[in-house]
């Protein structure tokens, strides 16, 4: 668990470093994600060693959004002033994005072969 956390932190650190040094418009954690992904493709046996940490973080992913989400209280005046465009835009665009993604992928994807190695 701890070595997993260390690996994640180190990759984030490398990502932040690169983003900062090269003035990239991509956030550090995303570069860290890319780096770790490349390493895991080259060394697949690391996947199992990192899995417990990743599953722990993703199992409570919802919790991690809470502190930023409570910030909604700071924007109540703006939300009140522009509630109609905001509410409509969020409802319409989220549904459109979801349905387009699902429908296109659903249409283009070949039927699943009769349950391949089902181990996730």
């Amino acid at each position: 668990m701890l070595e997993g956390l260390l690996a994640l932190l180190v990759f984030q650190l490398i990502g932040e470093g690169f983003a900062h040094l090269l003035h990239l418009p991509i956030p550090g954690p995303v570069l860290g994600l890319l780096g770790l992904f490349a390493v895991l493709r080259a060394r697949p046996h690391w996947i199992e060693r990192l899995r417990p940490t990743a599953e722990m973080l993703h199992g409570h992913l919802a919790l991690l959004f809470v502190p930023a989400g409570v910030g909604v209280v700071m924007f109540l005046p703006r939300l009140r002033a522009e509630w109609l465009p905001i509410v409509v835009a969020l409802l319409v665009s989220t549904s459109v994005g979801l349905v387009v993604t699902a429908w296109v992928a659903h249409r283009l994807a070949p039927e699943p072969a009769s349950q391949p190695e089902d181990e996730s």
């Binding site: 994640l8 990759f11 984030q12 990502g15 418009p25 956030p27 954690p29 995303v30 860290g32 994600l33 770790l36 992904f37 895991l40 996947i47 899995r51 940490t53 990743a54 973080l57 993703h58 199992g59 409570h60 992913l61 919802a62 919790l63 991690l64 959004f65 809470v66 502190p67 930023a68 409570v70 910030g71 909604v72 209280v73 700071m74 924007f75 522009e82 109609l84 465009p85 905001i86 409509v88 835009a89 969020l90 319409v92 665009s93 989220t94 459109v96 979801l98 349905v99 387009v100 993604t101 699902a102 296109v104 992928a105 659903h106 283009l108 994807a109 070949p110 072969a113 391949p116 996730s120």
Partner: protein
């Protein structure tokens, strides 16, 4: 006469506790566990979204006790910090899924580009048509992208990042609440595709919902969230810069 010193003590204790992260952290974890228990009791129905409930509980609680958000966030930032490692950790399900998704890789890629573009464009168009301000429009563009990346994108294009964070959370909640029945209506039942769409349109909160449905849906949602974040972080600043140059 004797009441005053006690109230004074309580006040001082309150000042002390609210200055340390203890209060914000316990409140955050407590509200989250309460919301989870409620969601579980109602069989994880999409309408009972744990993130939305936790945020409402905390926002109400904070305004009731007169705490301000900055102080709350100073304490709760330890939870917020974990978003970074959690983003990096999406490499794990992505790498694990990569070979399994070989057959549907192209379908998912086309879906993601189409859905991501359609989502961002429809957000800006509807909000613009209904008279939203320039700042609100900019903050809306990356709202389907995972919060930490979206905030970075908004900063790049000159919008207010904290407003984007709010739009991201609201988008995530809308996707997680309305998504499952929308997908049912369109006859999309395959966990991989359902998860992928939830991750594309509703990032981490959609992913949390996908994990509630099926582990495979969750993994594909994480994959979609990661790729969408990457693609959006590279394309949105470019497209916005081009657009602003044209008009």
């Amino acid at each position: 006469m004797t009441v005053l010193p006690i109230r004074d003590d309580i006040f001082r204790l309150w000042v002390y506790l609210s200055a340390s992260p203890l209060f914000a952290l316990s409140a955050t974890l407590g509200a989250y566990l309460l919301a989870l228990a409620l969601a579980r009791r109602l069989n994880n129905h999409p309408l009972v979204n744990p993130v939305a409930i936790t945020i409402m509980l905390l926002a109400t609680g904070i305004s009731l006790v007169g705490e301000d958000y900055q102080r709350y966030f100073e304490g709760a930032q330890f939870v917020h910090f974990l978003l970074g490692p959690a983003t990096v950790a999406f490499a794990v399900p992505m790498a694990a899924m990569w070979s399994r998704m070989r057959r549907i890789r192209l379908a998912l890629a086309v879906g993601l580009i189409g859905g991501g573009a359609a989502g961002a464009a429809s957000a800006v168009l509807t909000a613009w048509a209904l008279g939203a301000s320039h700042e609100t429009l900019l903050a809306l563009i990356p709202k389907s992208v995972t919060t930490p990346i979206a905030m970075g994108i908004t900063e790049q294009i000159g919008g207010p990042p904290s407003l984007t964070a709010v739009f991201c959370i609201l988008t995530g909640v809308v996707g997680a609440v309305a998504g499952p029945s929308l997908l049912d209506n369109f006859g999309v039942h395959r966990p991989a595709v359902r998860g992928f769409a939830l991750g594309t349109a509703a990032h981490g909160i959609g992913t949390a919902r996908a994990f509630q449905e099926h582990p495979e849906a969750g993994a594909f949602a994480g994959l979609a969230l990661g790729i969408h974040g990457l693609v959006a972080a590279m394309l949105i600043p470019l497209i916005v810069a081009l657009w602003l140059k044209l008009v």
